[in-house]
Structures are given as structure tokens and as C-alpha cells.
């Protein structure tokens, strides 16, 4: 039989049993749907996080005590202002920013909010991409003289002051009164924390307020991409020298991107694999229904053989039917998956990444499921003895 005719006959057979075909397809539809959505959202999450990290600035090295990595135990920092000075000697005075972080309740008038209070310094704009909405950054003088000034994240600003201009107003932090000198523009989140919900005060002021001398974190901006690796080693060596026996990590942006990419990639892979199991179950359903169909159509098979159909003709006829079933299911699943991914992207901050190759792959996998699960019933059909098949009633 000619290919066009094969498809016509197979399509007709599926159309006749519309309800059954649809229900059989459902397994494949759901499987493909789930895979497409998970891959799109997983890739979206990955590109979002990577975008956030890249959005911090470029050529940044993060210096933290202990290990930086997923699952690493948090370490109480032993770094202090002397270490900051050391880093500045190595990397340059304006290329290092340091911070000390604490969650505090902050108040302005009757408005209260829980916010991340970050002790910071004048180098924030030199290291990170952190535009201001209004006012100014913290200055060197602010840090040296332990001024009680604060720069608000955009979200904190609107929580505490609403539509009122916060510049020059007072904010109470851990019992101390601070004057607002600047408000950051909205930047979103990084490392799972909204940076818009923080407020920054001079590092020295923060140390006194929290009665601490430690520095939690430093970020160093290398002058060029080529300088990153050398600088990274220098920084760690210098810190280890000063604190023998303690461990320090200096992680570059590239490393961070790689790690996060790997973790999210693996997560997406695992979820997609789980979704693919339902595709497999769908395939078993196809196999099952094709076996039923072969049995029901035994007489038709006998007749076709009597009229000159070869074993191969019958096998191909049923195989085409199975593949058509799963391919149509695959297309519907892809359509639903794309729709769902776009809807999720619309309603959440996670973008959907719909790579054409992943959709093409989903289609070919569903067609492949048809071949794989259709071949046993199709062979059974092809091998039927026409004499016995014709006799069946």
C-alpha cells in the first residue's frame, strides 16, 4: 500500500473509535505535557538565576569564610576589618566591598517591617551594579565616622514610607535612629533573597549596633576577566596566612554560574525523567489498546490477507496506527505544554524557555513510543493465519 493510503486507513481507524483513541492518547498527552512544562520552567529558572548573578556586575569574586556551596554548613565568620584592609591592599582600595548582615525589625513612624540590615561601605557602586532611585550611596566618611545614615532597598522604602519621599526621614533600627540618605532602584533578588527588602548602613555603625567586630562577606571586583583567577588565589592565600587553620573561599561569578547551572540542570533532568515515566505508562496503554484492536479486527485482518495483504502490509498498517496515535498525542501534549509554560511565565517571575529542539525531541520521542509499544501488537496482527482469522466471529 502506498504511504498516503496507509495514513488514511490508520487515521480512519482512529477516527472510528474516537473516544477510545483520545483516552489512549491521554497517557501520552499528559506525559509530553509534563515534560515540556518542566523543561521549559526548569530552563527558565536556570536562565533567571544566571541572569541574576550576571546582573550583579562582572568579574566579581565573592569571599566568604568556610565553604561556599549548596549544603555547606554556615560558618561564623572570623574575618574582620583588618582582613578588609588586607583585601584592599591586594585588589585596590575601591575594588572591595564588605558587609555584615543581620535581620532586624525596623520602624518608621507607625510602620514596621522586618528587614535584612546590611552593614556596608562606600564601594557598593564600584563593585556591584546597584543603581540608586534617589539620594546618594554610603560614603567613605559615613563609614569612618560611624554615621547613623541608611540607604533603603526599594521594597523597604515603599513599606515604611509608602508614597512619601523618605529622603531625610528617620528610621529606627535596633533601637538606633538613622537618617535616610538614599533609596536603591529595584533590582530583584539574588541567592534567594530579595535585595529590594534590605537596608544598608555603614559597616562600622553596624558593628557597633550589633556589638560585633566580624565581617561576613566581601566582594572583590577584578579589573578584567583575565585577572579574576590570579586575584582569586591571591586573596585566599592572604586570608589563610592571617588565619592559619581556618578555611576561606573565594568564588568567582563563573564558578557560581557553573554550580547553579549544574544543580538546576540536574533538578530539571530529574523532574523531566519522572514526567517521562508517565509517557512510558502512556506507551503501555497504547500497546494494550492496540492488542485489543488487533483482536477486534481479526476478521478484517483475515479479509485483507485473503485479498492479498502480506504479513508486512498488516504489520505496517497497525504500526502506523500506533505511531499516529502517539504522534497526535505528542502534538497535543506539546501544544498544552507550551500553553501552560507560557501561562506560568506570565503569572510568575520564572520565564519559560521553549527551545525548538526540545519540542522537536518531545515529538520524536512520542512517535518513538508508538513504534516501541506498537510493534508487538502489529507483529501479532501480521502473523495471524488468514484461515483462522476469517473463521473468527
Amino acid at each position: 500500500m502506498r504511504p498516503a493510503e496507509l495514513f488514511r486507513v490508520a487515521f480512519e481507524a482512529l477516527r472510528v473509535n474516537r473516544m477510545r483513541s483520545l483516552l489512549t492518547m491521554l497517557g501520552v498527552i499528559i506525559g509530553v505535557w509534563a515534560v515540556v512544562v518542566l523543561v521549559a520552567i526548569g530552563s527558565g529558572a536556570k536562565s533567571m538565576v544566571q541572569g541574576e548573578i550576571e546582573g550583579l556586575g562582572s568579574n566579581i569574586i565573592f569571599v566568604v569564610p568556610g565553604e561556599l556551596g549548596f549544603g555547606a554548613a554556615p560558618t561564623v565568620s572570623r574575618m574582620d576589618l583588618d582582613d578588609v584592609a588586607l583585601m584592599r591592599r591586594i585588589a585596590g582600595d575601591t575594588r572591595v566591598t564588605s558587609s555584615l548582615t543581620s535581620g532586624e525589625t525596623v520602624r518608621a513612624g507607625r510602620q514596621e517591617a522586618f528587614a535584612t540590615v546590611v552593614g556596608s561601605d562606600e564601594n557598593v557602586p564600584n563593585v556591584f551594579k546597584r543603581p540608586l532611585a534617589k539620594g546618594r550611596y554610603l560614603s567613605k566618611i559615613d563609614v569612618e565616622t560611624r554615621r547613623r545614615v541608611v540607604v533603603l532597598g526599594s521594597q523597604t522604602a515603599s513599606k515604611l514610607f509608602g508614597d512619601v519621599d523618605p529622603l531625610g526621614r528617620q528610621v529606627a533600627i535596633a533601637g538606633g535612629r538613622f537618617r535616610v540618605v538614599g533609596v536603591y532602584a529595584q533590582v530583584g533578588q539574588s541567592f534567594g533573597q530579595s535585595r529590594d527588602a534590605e537596608l544598608q548602613i555603614p559597616l562600622t555603625t553596624a558593628q557597633r549596633l550589633l556589638n560585633a567586630s566580624r565581617v561576613d562577606f566581601m566582594a572583590v571586583r577584578a579589573p578584567s576577566a583575565e585577572a579574576v583567577d590570579g586575584l582569586q588565589k591571591q586573596l585566599v592565600a592572604a586570608l589563610s596566612d592571617r588565619h592559619p587553620g581556618d578555611k576561606f573561599s573565594a568564588v568567582t561569578q563563573t564558578e557560581l554560574l557553573g554550580t547553579i547551572g549544574k544543580v538546576l540542570g540536574a533538578l530539571t533532568g530529574v523532574l523531566a525523567a519522572i514526567a517521562a515515566i508517565s509517557l512510558l505508562v502512556g506507551g503501555v496503554g497504547v500497546s494494550n489498546i492496540m492488542l485489543v484492536s488487533v483482536r477486534e479486527r481479526t476478521k478484517e485482518i483475515g479479509l485483507r490477507k485473503a485479498l492479498g495483504a502480506r504479513q508486512r502490509d498488516i504489520l505496517i498498517q497497525f504500526l502506523v496506527e500506533a505511531v499516529l496515535l502517539t504522534s497526535i498525542g505528542g502534538l497535543i501534549g506539546i501544544g498544552l505544554g507550551v500553553g501552560t509554560a507560557l501561562t506560568i511565565a506570565e503569572l510568575s517571575p520564572v520565564p519559560a524557555v521553549l527551545a525548538w529542539w526540545s519540542l522537536a525531541l518531545a515529538f520524536f520521542v512520542s512517535a518513538g513510543v508508538g513504534v516501541f509499544f506498537g510493534v508487538v501488537p502489529a507483529r501479532r496482527a501480521g502473523r495471524l493465519d488468514p484461515v483462522i482469522a476469517l473463521r473468527t466471529d
Binding site: M1, E12, R304, K305, A306, G308, A309, R310, Q311, L390
Partner: protein, 239 residues
């Protein structure tokens, strides 16, 4: 000239639940081109088995069977299917039309398996349907047609591939007497005008008597093989 069908001492043995059943015990038979013969016998006589063998649907357990001069023992399944397709046309008691498929598409099927394109298949199927007087029923489905019309579609399907032999298995068994006569007249007309050998397989002597030759089967053997005593009935005088 090569006979249409030739069986030499053919046996056929089945295994049914471990027990060997011999349906044909040694049948020799020659059907010439253009013959009109009836294979007659009670149920269980082996006449269905013989029909399946003559129709190249089955292979003998022993003996030689030549369909269109070709020994079926030497053909594989695919070649046997091709032989069936080109050489034999089947007409069944219960019509065996595909439901939900139009008359034209039903008739086209043997040609489809020859790899002939759809347009050409349709052209020839329409011609075959016109031959059996169903030019006005081309796109009707079996459930929209009477039993007689369905059997005529089946005859068109048997003829469309221009076979040498039409094997008709109780072709009137599911039809009333009048329609049965019409179907028989159609088969006889095709036999006369197109030179197709027609083999009726039946248990009804009154049907078999219309053929020019009667082959009586009993217990897996040919009991009698003789020319019908009275001349071929005139088509008009039979009603």
C-alpha cells in the same frame, strides 16, 4: 495451457488440542480456466479446507498444489499473498465488507495491495461496481445497502483485480431466494462474459446444480466429480 488450479493427492492435517485431525485425505483435482464448478458437501466434509487451499490461503500437508501453475510449497508468505492478490477473487457467505468504508474503497482494496495509486484504484473500482450494476451506490457504506447489494459489492471486489478464479463460499447463504438468484446470475454472467473460472462452495444441491461440474466431497475425499446432467440453465427460465 496451464490449468487455473491443480491439486495432486493433496492432504491437510490439523492439530486440534493435541489431536491430529485429517481434513483432506488425498484430493486430486484440476480446474481449467473459465470453468464453472461447484464443490459440494455437508459441513465437516473438508470442502472449506479445500477452498482455503485452492484459494492459496493455506498450504497442503502433503501433495502438490499449483495455483496458476505455481507450486504453493515453493512460495513464501509474501509471494503467496501476491499470488492470491493476482490470481484469486473471494466471495464470502457473510460478504466480509469493511464497515464504515464506502463501496468504492472496499472494492479498491485488492488493488491497493498492488501499490496502485488511489485515483487509478478508484477508476477501476468504479468500473467493477458498474459491471455488477452498482454504479449508483459508489459511496454508500455497507450498512446503507441491502444484503444483495453488499454481495454484489463483494463480487466487484473479487473481480476488480482481474483474477483467473473466483472462489465463492456459500455466496447465497445469507440472502433470500430471489436475491440469491440474482447473485448467482451475476456470477454466471461474469463466468460467461469474462472467462473467469467460478468455483462455488456450497452444501445446497439446488445451488450446485447450476454449475457445469459438481465435485462432491465427503470425509476428506472426492466422492464424485461429474458434469451436471442437465444443460446450463437459461438465466430467464429459472424464476
Amino acid at each position: 495451457m496451464t490449468p487455473a488450479l491443480e491439486a495432486v493427492d493433496v492432504t491437510r492435517t490439523y492439530e486440534m488440542e493435541g489431536v491430529e485431525v485429517t481434513a483432506l485425505k488425498g484430493v486430486s483435482l484440476v480446474i481449467e480456466n473459465g470453468e464453472y464448478a461447484a464443490i459440494l458437501g455437508p459441513s465437516g466434509s473438508g470442502k472449506s479446507t479445500l477452498m482455503h487451499l485452492l484459494g492459496a490461503l493455506d498450504r497442503p500437508s502433503s501433495g502438490a498444489l499449483r495455483v496458476g501453475g505455481r507450486d504453493v510449497a515453493e512460495l513464501n508468505d509474501g509471494e503467496l499473498a501476491e499470488l492470491r492478490n493476482e490470481h484469486i477473487g473471494f466471495v464470502f457467505q457473510s460478504f466480509h465488507l469493511l464497515a464504515r468504508t464506502t463501496a468504492v474503497d472496499n472494492v479498491s482494496m485488492p488493488l491497493m495491495y498492488r501499490g496502485i495509486g488511489r485515483a487509478e484504484c478508484r477508476r477501476r473500482a468504479v468500473a467493477a461496481l458498474e459491471t455488477v450494476g452498482l454504479g449508483h451506490r459508489l459511496d454508500h457504506r455497507p450498512n446503507q445497502m441491502s444484503g444483495g447489494e453488499q454481495q454484489r459489492v463483494a463480487i466487484a471486489r473479487a473481480l476488480v483485480g482481474a483474477p483467473k478464479v473466483v472462489l465463492a463460499d456459500e455466496p447465497t447463504g445469507n440472502l433470500d431466494t430471489r436475491t440469491g438468484h440474482e447473485v448467482m446470475r451475476l456470477l454466471e454472467e461474469l463466468n460467461r462474459e469474462q472467462g473467469v473460472a467460478v468455483i462455488l462452495v456450497t452444501h445446497e444441491p439446488e445451488v450446485a446444480v447450476r454449475a457445469r461440474r459438481q465435485i462432491h466431497i465427503r470425509d476428506g475425499l472426492i466422492e464424485r466429480d461429474e458434469a451436471t446432467a442437465r444443460p446450463e440453465p437459461a438465466a430467464e427460465g429459472d424464476e
